[in-house]
Amino acid sequence: MVTTAPASAPGTGTGTGMITGTQAPTALEAELARVAGAVPDPELPVLTLADLGVLRGVHLTGPGRAEVTLTPTYTGCPAVEAMSADIEQALHAHGVPDVTVVTVLAPAWSTDDISEEGRRKLTEFGIAPPRPQGPPGGPVALTLAIRCPHCGSTDTELLSRFSSTACKALRRCAACREPFDHFKEL
């Protein structure tokens, strides 16, 4: 276990501490958020962190000092450390020498946070995007058809609930017989 971002430092790990009292971002903060948001996801490089919806905000805490708030897709997502390093690098290159990346868990990330653009890119990349879920608390949705990203058929079957990464399930298309990953709803 390598120590990671202080997901559990007082006031950041759990609970609902974030967002309350947050002011509207300044123009520079918005610009830095665009730079951080343009960083590609280390496991799915077709998506940016903004597409994935894991970037929660960038705040300037002093001259040349920025704090970036990031939320993991899954609690144990191993990509968080790489994302943090990539964000730091991108902001350093943009002239911010002192960058801190803080991981927060609440409010919990959901696949509904993936942008429309992100869904389109996933399909193009051969991964069936997650279905919309609506409000949290409902059961795992398993009824709507999942479309094959290769041929578009809705006649697909589940091979395994867990695939190459925690966030994907493995399916096969009955029409074109190709197996494919499905970004499963969370």
Binding site: M1, P6, A9, T14, Y74, T75, G76, A108, P136, A166
Partner: protein, 252 residues
């Protein structure tokens, strides 16, 4: 190191006293089960299951890291505590056995953990944020265990026999999860009926007999949570901890 730490000095733990002990208990459940599931790597019946069990282990490890970090240094807690300082349920430390035993353990535990996290997520305690996130992950673990229980129980004579044997063997550890945990801020006994209903429904659908033995031994009541563990646990810890103890601070 990626330089993401905000502090150079070690921050004070977010929790102390009974709430810290409760967080540690849940963190130990997740850590120990993650280690057990990780033991399947390279030996699962099919590749898809190898990947599934590793993914479930990864989710649990992520939860364990957050929970342990609320109470102190995660590495020290995971790798430098003695057996009697671990507060996990005896259920999660039970050996993998055959695949049916692993699935029975998953069914019993993930049903409990799903109900527990849903309960914690609905509250406003210090674990609510983690629970709200983890409950969605555990929903998939529970579904995975239920589907396999149905498939094995309602499969061949051999798989039916093995699944039944596994469910019977682990039944005696299913009372402990519902013992009270100081500092948790939720009454674990309150969702025991929901657990029993759910497990009964799955076993019945799978064509299996719901075990009728005691759900705790006289010697075992609440034991894991008090640091009393079964014989298998020491050996599991030895394997989990030896690298860190032999090479302190090792990374890769």
């Amino acid at each position: 190191m990626t330089g993401t730490d905000t502090t150079t000095a070690r921050p004070a733990p977010a929790l102390g006293g009974a709430p810290a002990r409760a967080a540690l208990a849940l963190g130990d459940d997740a850590l120990v089960l993650a280690q057990r599931l990780g033991e399947w790597a390279g030996g699962a019946p099919v590749l898809e299951e190898e990947v599934a069990l590793a993914n479930i282990a990864l989710d649990l490890l992520g939860q364990a890291r957050v929970l342990l970090s609320l109470t102190g240094d995660e590495d020290e807690l995971a790798f430098l505590r003695e057996e009697r300082a671990f507060l996990n349920l005896q259920l999660v430390e039970q050996p993998n056995g055959d695949f049916a035993h692993t699935i029975a353990r998953q069914l019993y535990f993930s049903t409990y953990q799903h109900l527990l996290y849903a309960e914690l997520a609905a509250g406003d305690g210090p674990l609510a944020g983690l629970a709200a996130k983890a409950v969605k992950e555990v929903a998939y673990h529970r579904d995975h265990a239920e589907q396999w229980t149905l498939r094995l129980g309602d499969g061949t004579d051999e798989s039916h026999h093995r699944m039944g044997t596994a469910c019977d063997a682990l039944w005696r550890y299913t009372g402990e999860p519902f013992q009270p945990v100081d500092g948790l801020g939720t009454d674990t006994a309150a969702f025991e009926p929901a657990w029993l209903d759910s497990v009964t429904a799955v076993l019945t659908r799978a064509g299996l007999t719901v075990p009728d033995g005691p759900r705790t031994g006289a010697w075992a009541a609440g034991a894991g949570r008090q640091g009393l563990h079964t014989e298998h646990f020491g050996r599991m810890l030895a394997e989990m901890q030896h690298l860190h103890r032999s090479h302190p601070g090792a990374t890769w």
